[in-house]
Symmetry: C2
Subunit: 390 residues, 2 copies
């Protein structure tokens, strides 16, 4: 896979045909007449639409996948010409924003015109989904409507969690770019940097190597350890004796990598070095167990056992990884509560964490593609020893 020729952007129409066909099979199995899509990552998955116009919440965009036939886009007129470049041919537009009008009526009219075999439409109502339209408009859609609107979330995740070869290549590309930047990190940042200036240097290096965006980049530093891992970088200076945590959600052609690296600035405690090594082994354990047919719960338990074998008590039920793709995090969760079966061609993170003393946490993370022969690392593996920045 590493030797594949230069990656093209987007996907062939054939790939979208396959996604549509699978969706329609699942619609039939789930007794649904159509699937209603509003969320950017779902719109991109089913059509290939490539825009960040989602940053503007002014207008809703709708895609309807009917039980048979081709997808139907019902979108604001400003989107017509970019939608015409996608796999979708049946495009309806309306003038939006339109404060006197009603942003839901074009969608409702179209849905009412669909044949009703089962009397139900699936929508993005469940876990890890927030429908992208005003709740009031969704109420208008539901009111006096020909169809019941039911949860179609599991259907969507069944499709999206299992990746195609081309999806995996895009995740690998961005994971390799970020891995390279992490490798040279000790040469590009120093104790003269603040968390924020370090983050800007990292972003510029990631872009230079050809990624598109870096929507997520916590840079967290603290004497002897850190107490949180999700905040944006601050003006705090990175100082000698600090532990430094950097997590990265960068994208290439819409696909995310999601992994972190840890560093020390000069020397840190033997306790922290030792914790780092234990977590490295716990990560190995997680990676090793990402094989088709494994249960997410069992992978979680095995990682926990590995940590406990080193004499640590694990507290809490924190998850130790998740899917990754068109979103930074996707189902399934490597968690005690998740009873998913790991499937061939899933792409997952393994992300064990430890609170090694009160309020001090450490997290490792790698990205893995589950091949039929077992786990394939998409990131360049972190070193067992904590790298030092001087």
């Amino acid at each position: 896979m590493r030797n594949a020729k230069t990656l093209e952007y987007g996907f062939s129409n054939e790939e979208f045909e396959i996604r549509l066909q699978r969706a329609q099979e699942l619609l039939y199995q789930n007794k649904l007449d159509a699937l209603l899509i509003t969320i950017p990552s779902n719109l991109r998955y089913f059509t290939g639409i490539d825009t960040n116009f989602w940053e503007s919440p002014t207008r809703p965009w709708f895609l309807v996948l009917p039980l048979s036939g081709t997808p139907i886009a019902i979108i604001p007129d400003i989107g017509e010409n970019i939608f015409k470049k996608t796999f979708v041919e049946d495009i309806h537009t309306w003038a939006s924003p339109n404060f006197n009008g009603d942003d839901i009526s074009p969608l409702k009219s179209l849905l009412e015109s669909l044949p009703s075999r089962f009397g139900a439409i699936g929508a993005e109502l469940g876990k890890e989904m927030s429908i992208r339209m005003p709740v009031l408009d969704f109420g208008l859609l539901r009111n006096n409507f020909k169809f019941n609107i039911v949860d179609g979330t599991s259907l969507i995740w069944a499709l999206r969690t299992v990746k195609s070869f081309n999806e995996i290549k895009k995740i690998e590309k961005v994971a390799q770019i970020v891995s390279e930047v992490f490798e040279i990190l000790p040469t590009i940042i120093s104790v003269n940097d603040s968390e924020r200036s370090a983050s800007i240097k990292v972003k510029r290096e990631i872009l230079k190597r050809g990624a598109d965006n870096i929507p997520y980049l916590p840079v967290v530093s603290g004497k002897g350890g850190v107490s949180q891992i999700i905040g944006n970088p601050t003006h705090k200076l990175i100082s000698s004796g600090d532990f430094l945590f950097i997590d990265t959600g960068a994208t290439y052609d819409g696909y995310f990598c999601d992994f972190d690296r840890n560093f020390t600035i000069g020397t840190v405690s033997d306790e922290l070095k030792r914790t780092h090594e234990i977590l490295w082994h716990a990560t190995e354990e997680g990676i090793k167990n990402l094989v088709p047919g494994a249960k997410t719960q069992d992978v979680w338990k095995k990682i926990n056992k590995k940590i406990e074998d080193f004499g640590f008590m694990v507290k809490g039920e924190g998850r130790y990884g998740h899917g990754v793709g068109l979103q930074l995090t996707e189902p399934p969760s490597i968690s005690s509560f998740d009873n998913s079966i790991i499937q061939e061609n899933m792409v997952l993170t393994i992300e064990p964490s430890m609170e090694y003393k009160p309020g001090k946490i450490i997290v490792h993370e790698e990205n893995i593609f589950v091949s039929k022969d077992g786990p394939v690392l998409l990131t360049k593996r972190a070193t067992k020893e904590l790298p030092v920045i001087s």
Copy 2:
């Protein structure tokens, strides 16, 4: 304002106290017992929380502003330590994700414990809002609930559309950074670039000058003009005779600028040059009319009239600008459908567009702060003549 000392990140607690107090005044006027907040930009507005963890849709985050008293955060435990750094002191957490559990019950219990004076809670149900939680969970909240949940959107926008001095300074800072990059654009990109490589250069320059992120950056080029303005850059090479459109939503400390610039690669038609100049005058007209007390509809009409004075027929009802702040686009709209009154300390874009021949569009955009004495440009004004890249 330009001479203000180095901008600090974030805001004083006093500023959040003022936002809270105004929200509570509006809650009382609107006969609401509390406001429920889930959307990242609203969470940041009322608390100062600074994270991009929203890229992960796995967990909902809730903030409750009660009619009296202090804000209450009900958030996943992973967010506790960054929430502790904010203005909010009353923080409740639960273990999330938790597939066996129920991500709504901690919120529901807390809301049920609030006093009911009016029997109603406001939530993000209306225009330009998409509540950030699963619809199924929102249904569980509504079911057998002590309060009616009604739309609180207008209350939120009443607060957010009018900016504080410190908010305006942040928008100005990022608008100035991007203006500088647009000024040097002819020296950093060339006919050897693709749209995509040009976009990467622009992003790296914006970061170098101290912005945090560039979530939105369409780069669109085409012989003699462009037919869309929202798509992400492609691998198309920028070529002699092309018209080049670049729009930018970049952020500093969470605040967006949103404006575009147009260029020609070598020579383009006199028609396009002339259109550019007309639109420049239309933009002037829009800027000039951004004064406290003006109606958005009237500004829209005046821009249209200016275009028509040059002999062009305006077709359609497209909007000519909008609010900008913690989002790329916010209310109000400079539109025929919007009947808002422009207020002191709003920050708005003026964004007229023309379809100068079938399928070919051109858009200008500037960012303006409405002072009590009239409009103040936050961007460096585009030149009347189309700049040339060789």
